[in-house]
Amino acid sequence: MAEQQIGIATETATVRVAEQGASVGDFIALLKPRVMSLVVFSGFAGLYVAPGHVHPVIAAVAVLCIAVAAGASGAINMWYDRDIDAVMARTRNRPIPRGAVTPEQALAFGLVLSLFSVMLMDIAVNTTAAALLAFTIFFYVVVYTVWLKRSTPQNIVIGGASGAFPPMIGWAAVTGDVSLASIALFLIIFMWTPPHFWALSLYREGDYAKAGVPMMPVVAGQRSTKLQMLVYTLILCPLTLAPVFLGVAGWVYGASSIALNLGFVGHAIRVLRSDDLRYAKRMFGFSLLYLFLHFALLCVDRAPGILSVLP
């Protein structure tokens, strides 16, 4: 039944494409601008807090490359997931299921942008950052989208690594290497992804089930998912303090991080204790703020002579 629905939706979409053609906005939508904004910000934060100096033009190019690569991955993801996107309410208005962009256009767009972003990163910045960027695209497209997403409820746990690489890339753009501090930044996003994404999937469970995507609430049930969300949140808390101990951040970040962690754990407990899915929605919203504030505070703490003195 679901397969028939997918078939009909795809056919109707293809007919509409022939009529009007894609607008520039449709191609921008392929880049998943909202997802891109958080990726770009964390990449910038990694670049900003890394020890060393990089020319502002080179720094801007590095951030641009991260942004373009993130967008390109999104476009290829939309090409591959066009069948399930047409079924899910959250994604059925994306350019391909809507019939605004053909799958071939989306794939070509994604591949060309991927190639350009990695090439430019290598030419302008350094090979380590370019290699990490290429690996991130590979991980998101091949490991997460093609392999894990439809085959295991651990999809976003492992696949979350692709979203965690940007601060490491930003760091490598300045230092040319991968250090313990940049791995700590990676781990913060890596451990943040499961509670963040499962909060969303709790109140979108029906959508994922309809599309046949084995998200944790669909496979293991809501109770187990909520429990795992709390476990990941508790593991995340000490990790967010790692930048303080590694000398990347000072007391402003440390104190704020503790407060944010108390809030995040509070949300996870409330989600676990209640059957009201509004709490999951609230936790999802808070998780976005939580990550944004962590990386913003890292930057504030690093700003010379403003608030805290770094060791």
Binding site: Q20, G21, V24, H55, V57, V61, L64, L120, I123, A124
Partner: protein, 40 residues
């Protein structure tokens, strides 16, 4: 506005977007070259 006009408008917008992207790319490579030469 009929479908043909809409199609032409979208095509024109796409052409401008590609042209702007190419100009931006050239400008970026130009800026990188200057920065790298200064560094050398």
């Amino acid at each position: 506005m009929n479908a043909l006009e809409e199609k032409k408008k979208r095509l024109r917008q796409r052409n401008w977007a590609v042209a702007l992207a190419l100009v931006a790319f050239v400008a970026i490579v130009y800026a990188i070259t200057i920065v790298k030469l200064q560094g050398a």
